[in-house]
Symmetry: D3
Subunit: 129 residues, 6 copies
């Protein structure tokens, strides 16, 4: 059953952003390999793979939370990509980040938009939407 | 044009939660009446009324941001109501708040869920979904 | 295996604070019963029950994090109790909270100490250390 | 020299808000009496009593910081009073708190203004400006 | 009237830091040009240009808020410059940032001072105070 | 007595991380030399040198607080080193940082672990544990 949970998580994380799933494993394998298993199991196997919200909405939740908190730049970058992978358009992401200005202040919005701009450019360089 | 902007904002805020729009005006009229005008104009007239995201998604953005920040309880309560008014189901809100545990920690999720429970009960008491 | 993980978590959470384990289940059972299972599994079964740190040190970690963040009062109260249950003395807890003033500012320290004072008094009322 | 520092701090804290200085001592005397001495010495003796900024400006700094952080309500209340004691007008405080909306978001501003409203009413009840 | 508001904002933002006003427009023009208009209108046209506080005090408010929050480095840099432009002395800025140590912790103060040091050196290189 | 306090602080900060004590003095000597004295006196002379907690536990408190707050990277780096100097093993630090995922979210944990990885590698390069 634990295996099932881990595999469901792995499937979900790969569907969101296969490249990043590999990077996460790589980043943690020497220092905290168990945390990799827990994150896949809990974040992706338990929570993100639940049927109650589609993946696109889930990525909007994550992008909103991370840009409002303003202290998790590497993860915001990952989830800006993941949101696009899950079917958000660039315009929708920009709408989300503009709205953050209302609730978390204009600097939080500007800093997230600066990251979005980088992500959009990077993807353009690779020929992705 | 400024009037147009204010009226668009007022219409939006009333569509989201008419009762709360009144409370906001009431709360600010003695101490900072201009801020009431700015909030209606900027938050609701400029940003929230933009066509790029539907109101339901916008409320999911706000609920995600406020529950992740964890220091804006009165506004989270308002927007849990607004999310329901905008067509979110209770189950969808619970999914959003569970996901916050992954990105902002379990306490942020539990505190937002405790507020959601109160909002759900209050609405039930009034015969609303 | 999943069952094993849940039971290990349940055992750990009950060892820390049996009363609170019950309250958590009660709080979540109507609104987000699956989250209760995830928290027991991930927070307590995966992380807190790991052998690499004793429970007393783990509670010091939690009390430090929550008092520095300053936006999780109900959880800080739970973990002030849990720290005492795990063998921290009151004096040790006070030392931890005083140190928070250096890193998160004097208000964060004062607010956590005010909660500690309430927890100490409450336990005294029940004849507990 | 240490005594001099403590006395300078005590003089400053009493000048800002004599009543609150007493409450702080009272709050800490049983649980962390040394912290009371450190706060008077460091916060008020070392920093706040420095000649480089007048007390009114210093209180504006504190009110700005605490309202932006949004997780130190009891201290914000103290410093709203202290700002008024130091010569800020109510209108100036309202200007400061409105500006917080730009940098920390509208909820941070609204929550601080709600506290300011309470403080203003309380002082009116006592016949103070 | 809307035009009046935008022009008042533009005038204010240029008075604070003309170079930065240009950078903001540049940064947003491709990704969120409307947000540029909203920021000029709301932040600068509505709020910052209000007569109730002089510009120097307004920049002290902003520097205090941003350094306490600690997650808006690019904006803190802009407003350290803006504060100097508005008539703050370097010594006054240092006093503000030292005081942040009391309320938001020593790391927040040290990180803001490190940025101030860079800004001061940069301006020296350009022969500005 | 003030001298005694400063010297006790200096001794403590040097015991924790002599190299960093020098860097702190260097960083502040031009811009805020008095703050250097206050930090040594208050943070290290008053608080950290108190006998109520051993230095290893004190560093665990600091690492927990800073990684949970997530906006004090340079100080987290200093205190990851200090924790190792005070007798924490790498495994213990990793346990602390994994636990932060539960209370402050997975991004806070991952970002602190990424810094720990750098610190561990840097020390390895210098032949230190």
């Amino acid at each position: 059953m634990e295996d099932e949970r881990f595999h469901r998580g792995l499937e979900t994380v790969r569907r969101i952003d296969a490249e990043n799933a590999g990077r996460l494993e790589e980043a943690l394998k020497d220092i905290a390999p168990d945390l990799y298993r827990y994150i896949i199991g809990f974040a992706f196997g338990d929570v993100i793979s639940r049927p109650g919200l589609d993946l696109k909405t889930r990525e909007i939740v994550t992008v909103s939370a991370l840009s409002a908190m303003g202290n998790a730049r590497p993860q915001l970058r990952v989830h800006l990509n993941a949101a696009l992978n899950a079917g958000c358009t660039r315009d929708e992401i920009v709408e989300v980040l503009m709205q953050i200005a209302v609730y978390a202040g204009i600097p939080a919005s500007l800093n997230a938009l600066a990251q979005a701009k980088e992500v959009f450019a990077e993807r353009e360089g690779k020929g992705r939407t």
